[in-house]
Homo-oligomer: 191 residues x 2
């Protein structure tokens, strides 16, 4: 998606440790015009899928999922909530996720009422790096018996293991910008 | 807002301790058609204000703020992030918020780059109860020297202290549904 790449190159910042900071438009201050273009692009890529719900995870995924849902006929958005590990709950689907940023496990949860085997789910998130959050969402969707139409990611760090892990699950993955390298502070896309 | 009240009455659940659960449409599963009506209503109520940014707090406020921003000419959304108290940071506006739900303090933060004295801010959140989160956002907006056009709330628990605290700050408050009582599991609106 050319507009997105333009934003990343012009407004993104590469920090030490292969960190790409895009908080001026994607995940702290949110550019709603860009969000709409992202939503339209996801619709284009999943146009043939009769999506019934969009599943995402707090916090940055929520705005993207809400704007995107408008282009899928206002389907409901469900967002998984994060909890400290070992916090008990019933009537929820849950999965354990390892955070590399925080170097700890957390649990993500969705109330069983809001996902079922009748659903055809599109999973949306802002970033794909090691893929652990998305794997947790896939786990939850499977527990619900839902069909997974695919995963839509805004920015993929293709030099990390997330893509590989998702494809291993036989799930379709669409990333709107794929970054091959951030070495030396240089943003290099895969295509 | 009649449509919202209808949703609350038909889909909301009152739990012990004056808890109103609206997670089937407002803050876990999100009804995007309703979100659009909420956004239109906020625009109607703040139509005369030249809003430059919408400020909210993670997580439930984000989707509402993004959809609402579309009716204000796609102004940027900025969301405050929550951190455990005493976690240091620079270059941010921060405020301390007490959570009654968790019985602990946390800090909320906004990068200084994304709020300034040139801004005319609309603060949006899903719930107003004790008002502590909104007071934290007001504090941050003031630190930035921004003008505060007002606060837009979806559901106000009018029997708690939030409204009073916000009005004491001389800030305009618009709540789309005001609940006077949840006693005995009965939802009673103020008007």
């Amino acid at each position: 998606m050319e507009l997105l790449k333009k934003y990343i190159v012009e407004k993104g910042k590469v920090l030490p440790g292969n960190v790409l900071k895009v908080d001026s438009f994607l995940n702290h201050q949110l550019d709603i015009g860009l969000y709409q273009e992202i939503g339209r692009e996801f619709k284009k890529r999943f146009a043939k899928e009769p999506i019934s719900k969009i599943l995402t995870i707090e916090a940055s995924g929520i705005g993207l999922a809400c704007i995107t849902a408008q282009y899928f006929g206002n389907v409901p958005v469900v967002f998984a909530k994060k909890f400290s590990a070992n916090n008990l709950a019933s009537e929820v689907y849950e999965s354990k996720v390892f955070s590399y940023t925080k170097n700890e496990y957390y649990q993500i949860r969705v109330d069983k009422k809001y996902l079922s085997r009748k659903d055809n789910i599109l999973i949306i998130d802002d970033f794909l790096a090691n893929g652990n959050a998305v794997l947790g969402l896939l786990d939850i969707a499977k527990q619900a018996g839902a069909n997974i139409a695919g995963v839509g990611i805004v920015i993929e760090k293709s030099f990390q293991t997330g893509r590989e892990k998702i494809l291993k699950e036989n799930v379709r993955l669409e990333s709107l910008a794929r970054i091959r390298s951030l070495e030396g502070g240089q943003i290099v896309f895969t295509d």
